[in-house]
Symmetry: C2
Subunit: 249 residues, 2 copies
């Protein structure tokens, strides 16, 4: 029986999703918990990796169950054993052919930035920029990224490993919540550091250090290493992975 699991985690204390030689990975912790529950060495497969310190409110992974347990029992058993910085939110039975990565149709990432006074309580969850930004300019610039573009300049995957770096961003908008702004990214998929690089690019535009014309040029030229902007992992959340066609939320 194959299960689809929706998982939230605070990425602060982890080296990221993927098992690494140094540091504790989220994948490793979750695999240990599931393996110990069903007493079978179990591999889990996620919708995609998240980097060190990146958070998730709705990461999705799948695994194959080898014991007679309901979804509700799996959810409770996992939450009883997982550390307090992780929470299984949903467990559902899926077809044996379901694959959390290959079947994903879209993803939503959010990036949180505090423009106000430094907040020591949110230092691991919200980028503490603590200065004003020109949101009008950022919103105008955000539109450049919406749609299907070659994001070669705005990600860290090499062209050898990913020859096709065209991706479709369905929506990218900026919400104001008091002194906090939230950048909402919806797209069919995101390359390595793509959300963080676009975020830092928008921050530079908001600071007045980078023009919208220059951003358009970088996007059109599509050259590796031409956009040297990468926001911290701290404010980034994988919010949702969609398995149906994208519809505006």
């Amino acid at each position: 029986m194959r299960y689809k699991v929706v998982l939230a985690y605070d990425g602060t204390n982890y080296c990221g999703w993927q098992v690494q030689p140094n540091g504790i990975s989220i994948q490793h912790v979750v695999e240990d918990v599931i393996s110990s529950i069903q007493k079978v060495e179990t591999h889990i497969e996620a919708s995609g990796r998240t980097d060190a310190k990146v958070h998730a409110k709705g990461q999705v992974f799948h695994f194959d169950g080898h014991v007679n347990m309901t979804c509700e029992q799996w959810l409770k058993a996992m939450n009883a054993k997982l550390p307090e910085d992780m929470l299984v939110k949903e467990v559902t039975e899926v077809e044996d052919s379901f694959h959390s990565r290959f079947d994903a149709k879209w993803k939503n990432y959010d990036y949180y930035i505090n423009l106000g006074e430094y907040d020591p309580f949110e230092r691991n969850h919200v980028l503490q920029l603590c200065r004003p930004l020109d949101l009008d300019k950022m919103r105008e610039c955000a539109k450049c990224f919406i749609g299907s573009h070659d994001f070669t300049a705005f990600n860290a995957n090499s062209l050898q490993e990913r020859p096709n770096q065209v991706r479709n961003i369905y929506d990218l908008w900026i919400e104001e919540r008091g002194q906090i702004i939230v950048l909402h990214f919806y797209g069919e998929g995101f390359l390595r550091y793509m959300v963080r690089m676009i975020t830092q690019t928008l921050i530079e535009v908001g600071k007045g250090r980078l023009s919208i014309e220059k951003v358009q040029e970088l996007l059109q030229q599509a050259k590796k290493h031409s956009a040297p902007y990468n926001a911290s992992a701290v404010g980034l959340y994988l919010v949702k992975v969609g398995y149906e066609d994208y519809k505006e939320e």
Copy 2:
């Protein structure tokens, strides 16, 4: 020159305000920073201790400055050297006779409780109770504590160290913020664990496990160890220390 400082800190990684043989205390970290700035071993005196893992949005301490620096320079110098889980919010010059503890007229503590789904991001900042409570009953019970009472049953100071355990609670009310409730305590001063013991007492009332009559009885009898309730440090914040007469906020 004596300075009054308003300090915020995330108490998660500290053994509390006071210097302890084991663990890192907030006092120790701040004294080190000030001593290194003015190159004189400096003692700081707080409005009161906070326990391990308790947070502050507005702790107040004072110290004596021995260098020619403005308040603004002190603020910047301290924030440059303090760890990222602390923030100096205000520095003001005060009379040489000012004392952060003896001159304090009232304090405001807030206690945060999540009644909804477990939130892994807020595990160190909000008590994760994750069950409904009868807020009407809690609000009714909260009224018992308002005013001047002998809080012998509701604190952990011995009668040897504090023979007079009568304190005046000016206000105690419960705010709803979605799935989070916030208990706001205003009083002339609070004994050890007093806020946490009243909070857990109110939680027990909200769960239906303790009657308001029983709480009134415990308060009137004023016997040590009669109220075995003590909420976790996690949701507790020292919000404000007042140096003027209390006025309803």
